[in-house]
């Protein structure tokens, strides 16, 4: 069985402009949503308290809200989490509250509300100083990934590849963030980890294509640059789809079996993987072309002899 039976190279580069326009549009949309809606940041970034409780039977939300307002938390958000029996209560940090005691007060209040007894599942309290740091650390990590990958690709290939790979993949990152902004999905630390992992992963996708580009430039002399790119993409497309398919299967499994905690993590990965294929093939390669890559950049007289032997 073989999925891909391609006789001729697919002329991707002929439509390069179209792809670039599509990318630009999605990118602009993502930025628009990020700016207008913003990310729904989790308690880890904003600071505050989050209490997850589980009941034997589904509780009434209204009495709980009232009880919490009565004990001094009118700004508490109470919502179902996963099922009707699980509740998630969010409380923002406030100056006048002794923040480290919030979780106990909440549990005491919940116990006094009539009905089924609550079972404490999880408490997360994050002080205001920690949240800011996490955001700063996250940006630093992103920066380090970008710089690290650019340096590596520039050394191993060519600066043109480095630049296009990074642009293509940052475009992925912005689009993932755009999705999170549009749907107001919760952006937590694991999601941040997923975004950065995707960045590394889809750069690796570009690398596979670039490897082929380099090899084709060295081997086939008669091809023009767009033809070389088409050939490289076509000959790796089978691998691209299979690899991403396998990774996606794993991620899908997390999406299905991983529960609430891993849900958004897996979701970020899913978007990242889909756009990763698209961008590394159809964004990075045209960019390399626009940046003016050519055979001369890869051919060194000495190396050519070695290649001739093969």
């Amino acid at each position: 069985m073989e999925f891909f039976r391609i006789k001729k190279d697919i002329p991707f580069m002929r439509h390069a402009l179209v792809f670039n326009v599509i990318s630009l549009l999605t990118f602009a949309l993502a930025v628009f949503f990020l700016l207008t809606r913003g990310l729904h940041l989790s308690v880890e970034f904003t600071g505050g308290t989050l209490v997850e409780v589980s009941y034997a039977q589904a509780p009434q939300l209204e009495p709980i809200r009232e009880a919490l307002a009565g004990s001094g938390y009118p700004d508490a958000q109470v919502q179902n989490f996963g099922s009707a029996r699980d509740l998630l209560i969010r409380l923002p940090n406030r100056e006048d509250l002794e923040t480290s005691r919030v979780s106990e007060t909440v549990m005491n209040t919940l116990q006094q509300v009539g009905g089924p007894a609550p079972e404490l599942r999880r408490v997360e309290f994050v002080g205001p100083q920690v949240g800011k740091e996490l955001a700063a650390d996250g940006s630093m990590a992103l920066l380090l990934v970008i710089v690290g990958i650019m340096i590596y690709l520039a050394l191993r290939f060519e600066w043109r590849f480095a630049v296009s790979a990074i642009i293509a993949n940052l475009h992925d990152v912005i689009i993932i963030l755009g999705f999170f902004a549009f749907f107001q999905w919760e952006f937590s630390l694991p999601v941040l980890a997923a975004v950065l992992a995707v960045l590394g992963y889809s750069v690796n996708e570009s690398v596979v294509v670039f490897d082929r580009v380099r090899e084709t430039f060295k081997k086939k002399r008669h091809m023009t640059t767009p033809q070389v790119l088409d050939h490289a993409i076509t000959s790796t497309i089978s691998r691209t789809v299979i690899t991403h398919g396998s990774t996606q299967v794993m991620v899908l499994s997390m999406l299905l079996f991983g529960g609430e905690t891993l849900y958004y993590f897996a979701l970020a990965l899913t978007i990242g993987i889909c756009f990763g294929i698209y961008s590394s093939v159809l964004v990075a390669s045209p960019l390399v072309m626009w940046l003016g890559v050519s055979r001369e950049q890869f051919i060194k007289p000495k190396k050519e002899k070695e290649e001739a032997v093969v």
Binding site: E2, E104, F125, D137, G148, P190, G258, T261, L262, F265
Partner: protein, 621 residues
């Protein structure tokens, strides 16, 4: 051409065997255990004696155990079920803590790996589960360094006042203003005298002269950066020591108390659900007192007989012997600014050097002058119970606030005493800035969810690979399994904390790792398509794919390392597994799969075709 030399096969085999051995403990699960550790910093646990004592107590009560193990700080006994464990806990508790109100040992319920002892003896332990998987409380505490600085400057202000009085320098007031201490003088001569007096007595202060008016001359003192650094280090160390002592009280089997960054402390209490109690205990203070010992002949015998003489109290000294101590308090821990282990300048014996603040030094000088030849007791009060840490004989009058305790002490003991004296109180106030509590049911659920996602994802990949690449796909799947094996073995060996994001990383890494094998297999197909012989196609496939695999793994690794460096909490757990997984995947995807392929095809002289699925050629139909 497709054969590995013997050494290479052996090496790969050995690595896999190693992986298998270190993965094994994870399959055995856990059995209930009772853990005994010391509840007091003054009491060092003698593991050999404790082991015998536990064994004896259990035997006397007719309770069977399945092994007693010890490490540097604790002894654990395993039992076959929870019921036995609970009975055994009662028995051990009674043996070790006859006085329930004043426990000297922590007897806690714990879970131990059920793996056979030969595995434990080669340090093959199950993976260390994070709090989100086993349940428990996590606190991040921040030490209030500005608060500690203010406290220090306040005591400096007092010291300077005493110093000025002692050196008869006339000043017009000493006050703390923000992070400086300002000393006012009426004339320049007095200021010069004051400046000299300060510089002679301490090297911790930087002095700047400031003239606000002709008769308002000032000396502005700030702590030198070095002194500030020392103060910070001291404050955080002392707070950690104090936390250790207090957490022992909670009876937690494996507490984690670690410094994080310059001014933060992580406290993790696995299995603890009572957050309120934990917070109370973390916030409590212990106190230190110096009192005189009543060495009147016959008094101690009288006290032991039941009638304690008026104005004295009976306390136990470290090591057990009782001591009669006067009720009147000479000094409290507030006056102690530092305690460091060291050596006696003349005899070279181990000693503890104490530094008192100015007021403390004055009191100490007066008391020691009057009581040469007598004994002085240093007591530590924790949870309302006092204990004599040490009771040295006063040899001569001690002035200047520098006190040395020496004699009959080993270096270890000197260290302990110094720690304990410092542990009297928190050096600086602390604040909880992060709290995470995970209930035990959620922990177990998280394990199941993580495990299921990995399992189903893995199976789906195996089915696909075997269907699409046939025999070669099976080899890739085995290589992927080897990857998982090595990753789990590495995590077990390093005892890196495994969290739910860590399990997610494991699944994700497996999903990504198959990429290397797909690259290789596609290359082999391509070579076959271009008309290469099967043997040549294998060699060329592995050869050509290598560059690409290396490049793509390095870029992924860069992202992983960035996460490791800047990540905290859940992100770090993810990054550790991700990075290790990339490394193991390079090994298994290339070496393990190649070894298997070599075994299958490399030995045959002539290979007609590869079982790699259909190879479609554009020119055929």
């Amino acid at each position: 051409m497709n054969r590995y030399p013997l050494w290479k096969n052996l090496l790969i085999g050995l690595v896999l065997l190693w992986g298998l051995i270190y993965t094994l403990p994870n399959f055995y699960g856990e059995v209930p255990a009772v853990q005994v550790s010391s509840a007091k910093a003054t009491l060092k646990l003698d593991t050999a004696a404790t082991t015998d004592r536990i064994a004896g107590a259990l035997k006397a009560a007719g309770i069977e155990n399945t092994g007693i193990f010890s490490d540097a700080t604790s002894v654990r006994a395993r039992f076959k079920d929870t019921e036995t464990q609970l009975r055994a806990k009662d028995v051990i508790e009674q043996t070790f803590n006859p006085d329930a109100a004043d426990p000297s040992y922590v007897v806690a319920l714990n879970l131990l790996s059920a793996s056979p002892s030969w595995l434990t003896s080669i340090q093959a332990l199950p993976m260390y589960l994070g709090l989100d998987l086993r349940g428990g409380v996590h606190f991040l505490l921040e030490v209030d360094m500005p608060g500690a600085l203010v406290k220090r400057l306040d005591s400096t202000t007092g010291d300077l006042r005493t110093l000025m009085r002692d050196k008869s320098v006339r000043h017009a007031g000493i006050t703390r203003e923000g992070n400086t201490v300002v000393i006012r003088f009426r004339d320049a001569a007095q200021r010069e005298a004051g400046r000299r007096a300060i510089l002679d007595s301490t090297t911790d202060l930087q002095l700047v002269e400031r003239d606000d008016a002709a008769d308002d001359l000032k000396l502005v003192a700030t702590l030198t950066p070095q002194a500030q650094q020392t103060m910070r280090d001291f404050a955080i160390k002392q707070n950690i020591t104090t936390l250790h002592n207090r957490i022992n009280e909670l009876g937690v089997a494996e507490p984690v108390i670690q410094q994080q960054g310059a001014e933060r402390i992580v406290v993790q209490l696995p299995g603890v659900q009572d957050v309120a109690k934990a917070k109370d205990i973390l916030g409590r203070t212990a106190t230190l007192e110096v009192r005189m010992v009543d060495d009147t002949p016959g008094a101690i015998e009288q006290a032991l007989a039941g009638s304690v003489p008026f104005g004295t109290e009976l306390y136990n000294e470290r090591g057990g012997s009782p001591l009669l101590v006067k009720k009147q308090v000479v000094l409290t821990g507030d006056r102690l600014t530092d305690a460091q282990p060291g050596f006696d300048g003349q005899t070279n014996e181990p000693a503890v050097h104490l530094t008192l603040d100015a007021a403390g030094a004055r009191i100490f000088r007066d008391v020691t002058r009057e009581s040469v030849g007598k004994r002085m007791a240093i007591l530590l009060f924790e949870k309302g119970k006092g204990e004599v840490v040490t009771a040295p004989v006063i040899r001569s009058e001690i002035g200047g606030g520098r006190v040395q305790i020496s004699g009959r002490m080993s270096t270890v003991e000197a260290n302990d005493v110094a720690l304990l004296l410092r542990a009297g109180s928190l050096a600086a106030p602390m604040e909880i800035i992060e709290e995470r509590t995970v209930g035990p049911s959620l922990g177990a659920e998280n394990i199941a969810k993580g495990f299921n996602s990995t399992l189903w994802g893995f199976l789906a990949i195996v089915v696909f690979m075997c269907g699409y690449y046939l025999l070669v796909g099976l080899v890739s799947s085995i290589a992927l399994a080897a990857n998982l094996l090595l990753l789990v073995a590495l995590l077990s060996l390093l005892q890196a904390t495994l969290t739910l994001p860590g399990i997610a990383a494991m699944a994700l890494t497996l999903g990504m790792a198959i990429d290397s094998n797909v690259l290789i297999n596609e290359r082999i197909r391509e070579e076959l398509r271009n008309g290469a012989s099967p043997q040549a196609a294998i060699a060329a496939g592995y050869d050509r794919a290598w560059d690409t695999i290396l490049d793509s793994n390095i870029t992924t690794l860069i992202a992983g390392i960035a996460l490791l460096v800047f990540g905290s909490g859940p992100v770090r757990g993810f990054a550790v597994v991700h990075c290790l997984g990339i490394l193991t995947s390079m090994f298994s995807a290339i070496l393990v799969s190649r070894m298997l392929i070599n075994f299958i095809y490399g030995r045959r002289r002539k290979v007609e075709s590869l079982s790699i699925g259909q190879v479609w050629k554009p020119d055929t139909k």
